[in-house]
Point group: C2
Chain length 199, copies 2
């Protein structure tokens, strides 16, 4: 016996969600059907609207349904002349939650990875070049992840900045606040030592 | 900074799914937007259709979009005269996967739980009474979960059967096949001993 056609279809499509397999999809489907049909309908229309209308910001490539996202559209942030380069929209959220950085962002939506066929155009570096040429950017902060690909991407963008006489800086790597030296990997510790600052 | 309105709405509604919190919802939203917009649209319409059209089977209370589910509609299964009572549609699936049981089902969609205000009417026992009165049922197999509430529900239904002179049986509790005695709880072991069969 199989589930009824509509139910099978719902379970099949729920598996498109990352981390959702057959059993989880069944649990989700039954939970919505038994307890929260209105919620299910809300989710259906939110999904439909988002898939239909959310696009990339024409300046920073972050997700937005407008032409420019709220950050790029803010004159205050444009005046700062600082651009922070991150890999994903989630990174923008993480940085925004600290409420310390007041400049603009550029979201790569990935990182350079020649082995996967991801080149400069795929992570929007031509858009970035345009942005650097057009706007008065004094400093570019490279906040890509400290992985091999993230570092390579950071170096590539640093070169782009150098050729335009724009200062490029990399976020500090070191001991996380609240972390303990004892449990840190050697590579991070090495970074912490080489990046030491005078007190 | 918050996500754009459509994106926030999508993340908020994804949290209606069981086991999905803020971070998971973000990951799901971005995954669909970046990699699988068509899948997202399919999911949206599957959700919409299921929430709109999936109802309970008028006989067994399982989920279906028809008046009767496939199992209840099958004359072959009706002729068997056996009715298996389970708590959830997932239990029906689990039993169907063994392909051993050929009778009808009745899905309680829960269990008796006076403390939560769940009485006989809430788990459809009036429908069950009607089914027992109308159809030629010779045996009722009680396959509710071996929890306090499941046992209480089984006893309640057994009484209903007794008053109608229908045989009621409870599925066996004991050592799971492939399990090891060493790791079994005492209560299950006790059931295994008291339910022993001659070889």
């Amino acid at each position: 016996m199989k589930f009824s056609p509509l139910l099978s279809e719902l379970i099949r499509t729920l598996k498109y969600l990352p981390g959702v397999g057959q059993k989880t999809a069944q649990r989700m489907a039954f939970q919505l059907l038994e307890r929260n049909r209105d919620g299910g309908q809300e989710l259906a229309s939110a999904l439909h609207n988002a898939m239909e209308h959310v696009q990339h910001c024409q300046q920073c490539r972050n997700f937005t349904e407008s032409e420019l996202c709220d950050i790029c559209a803010s004159p205050k942030r444009q005046q700062q002349g600082i651009l922070c380069i991150v890999e994903t929209p989630q990174d923008v959220m993480a940085i925004e939650q600290t409420a310390e950085f007041k400049g603009l962002y550029f979201v790569l939506m990935g990182h350079l990875s020649p082995i996967d066929g991801i080149g400069p155009a795929d992570i929007g570096l031509d858009n970035l070049a345009e942005l650097l040429d057009k706007h008065q950017i004094q400093e570019v902060i490279l906040a890509t992840n400290p992985t091999v690909e993230g570092e390579a991407t950071a170096h590539y963008i640093a070169q782009m900045c150098r050729s335009r006489d724009i200062k490029a800086s990399r976020i500090a790597h070191g001991v996380p606040v609240g972390g303990e030296l004892e449990y840190l990997d050697g590579s991070t510790l090495m970074h912490a030592f080489s990046g030491r600052r005078e007190l």
